[in-house]
């Protein structure tokens, strides 16, 4: 039923965790890799500690900017209590990526957990690593580059 040539990713967490920054980096990497990309997010409540989620879809042609419920290939969650509210978006045998999969002790900067989880996600996606690295640099202030490139590699594990 779903459009199989589109890869669907949902990133969820709480305001302040870098959900939107993570989806910006992912979307940027996918654009650099030459895909059609659409990203959606809801603004307004994130700074007040509310739930935040962002959808990124990429492929030859993307139509709706929102991932239909039950069609997410990947669900990346930045705060464990946000797994249940978002679980319905994941398809059968879709991949759930959670903070516990990262050894946070090894992070140079705890705030780059979002990027570490992107690194983990990147193992599954047809986007060459150089596009990820360029996207990271383009979307983060220079003083944050080193710590975040390290976080990405930690997640990617290669």
């Amino acid at each position: 039923m779903s459009n199989s040539q589109v890869t669907n990713i949902v990133i969820g967490g709480l305001g302040g965790q870098g959900v939107l920054k993570a989806s910006d980096i992912l979307a940027d990497a996918a654009v650099r890799a030459g895909y059609d990309v659409k990203k959606s997010e809801l603004h307004g409540m994130s700074q007040r500690g509310g739930s935040v989620s962002s959808d990124v879809r990429f492929g030859a042609q993307v139509l709706s900017p929102m991932v239909p419920a039950g069609e997410a290939d990947f669900l990346v969650i930045l705060s464990s209590d946000q797994v249940e509210p978002n679980r319905h978006v994941l398809r059968d045998r879709g991949t759930l990526i959670v903070p516990e999969q990262i050894d946070a002790e090894k992070l140079a900067n705890r705030k780059s957990l979002n990027v570490a989880l992107l690194g983990l996600l990147s193992r599954h996606l047809p986007i060459p690593v150089e596009h990820w690295q360029t996207a990271l640099r383009a979307n983060l202030a220079e003083k944050l580059h080193e710590a975040n490139l390290q976080a990405f590699e930690l997640g990617r594990g290669r």
């Binding site: 650099r32 990203k39 959606s40 500690g49 739930s51 039950g70």
Partner: protein
Amino acid sequence: MSDSRLLLSGDEAIALAARHAGVALGAGYPGTPSTEILEAFSEQGGRAQWSPNEKVALEVALGAAFGGARAMATMKHVGLNVAADPLFTAAYTGVTGALIVISADDPGLASSQNEQDNRHFAVAAAVPMLEPSDSQEAYDFLFAAVDLSERWQIPVLYRLTTRVCHSKTLVTPRANIPPPPAANFQRDVRSRVMIPAYARPAHHRLRKKLAEIAAWSETSPLNRVAGGNGPLGIITSGISFMHAREAAPDARVLKLGLTHPLPFGQIEQFVRSVERCVVIEEGDPYLAQTIRAHGLAVESKPEMYRFGELNVNRVRRILAGDTSPEAVPKPGRPPQLCEGCAHRAVFETLRKLDCIVAGDIGCYTLAVLPPFNAMDSCVCMGASLGVGLGLRHTLPPDQARRVVSVIGDSTFVHSGITGLVEMVYNPPPTGHVLIILDNGTTAMTGHQEHPGTGRTLEHQATGKVVFEDLARAVGVKRVHVIEPRPGSPELENLLTESLATNALTLIVARRPCILVAKQIREYEKCAAACGAGEA
């Protein structure tokens, strides 16, 4: 490999198009999901201004368009309610330059007090309306809006929804765009001054323009047929087009980009070309009802899909005629006032004193929720004043004495000043207490400046409205400025004393929003340095 594609939100795409099309001025009031349009326009070097409210914003843009310039006014859906007065008569006056009125609607209420469907305004005010369905169209259609507006000398309603405003999709910008015509005043009293003698013929001119635009729309590239060969046909517009194409890839789709006036010839031809025709639209059944009123048999969605935004799965359900109850997703964590927010102490005090709180729109509206449970009404911008006064006028005295109106600083400038005048002009027998929560910013929408901060959209020093001076000037005798601090009895004492009098009291509770307190100090330092003649 060079890639000229930009991943932009609809708001960013509009701002880019406005720059490229030579829009001379953008005026608006912050309102999700429209706020980023002027912010992006300013970042790109455009002249962008926050107005006290949307009515003023539209009037300023209208003045620019009277002078032959290209201008835009931006607002969320409820903002057009405020700007409706100038909109309706601007359709009669017409414009010389281009006037684009951008209404960013919020079906599904991501962050609004209602989900009104502003397409009705195009019909009621008799103006053409464009509806982009992604960021590329948000960019391209702006040029079409400018052309339409200048060619027929009429304001154009540019209507978007949250998912077009805030979703990021790819945009290929244009090159070699001709510059706009120069601004120049041409006297045209019979068009611009709407006394009845001039307004009557203006109405006839307006209807004639609409008929011409309707004829033009029959062959306009703004409306097109897409998708497969049917036998299912779908008529749609805006973001619903994207959902529909994904939900029904084989359907033949009539995509309307100019959704007022409608191209009935093209619509009729389309309906006859398919076996079954369903109208897919968010919000009110505007398209479906208008097309049916024209005598064409089309299906519209079941009533349950009128509420909330559409998505691919909901469109599948509509096409299948599925009216079974929809799954309710588990709620995420709701927003709350930041820890350390100055508003917290105020609402704790109001709850402690068992006040009846007529509230208003801003971050502080969150005080309706636990743990504060300290707000009894919130209707629209500025209503805290009038509603509080109405309660005071009619409740028995022991209850009336507990009524307090609470409003934020930006909201006060927007629509509270007239309420303040009302308080002085028609004072309730038990008096009244107004609290202005002054945190030095328009916080909820992302910390924009407003006339009470004394800084422009670009954070440059400018004229400043001082609330306590304003209140004294209109005749409020009891005016107090305090800093709300947790654990301090000052507010509680002041409030207790004020509620016991029959006087009118203004309490300005002033403390900068903790999220931007540091930035505000820097802006003030900068302004002081500039004022002393240093760079």
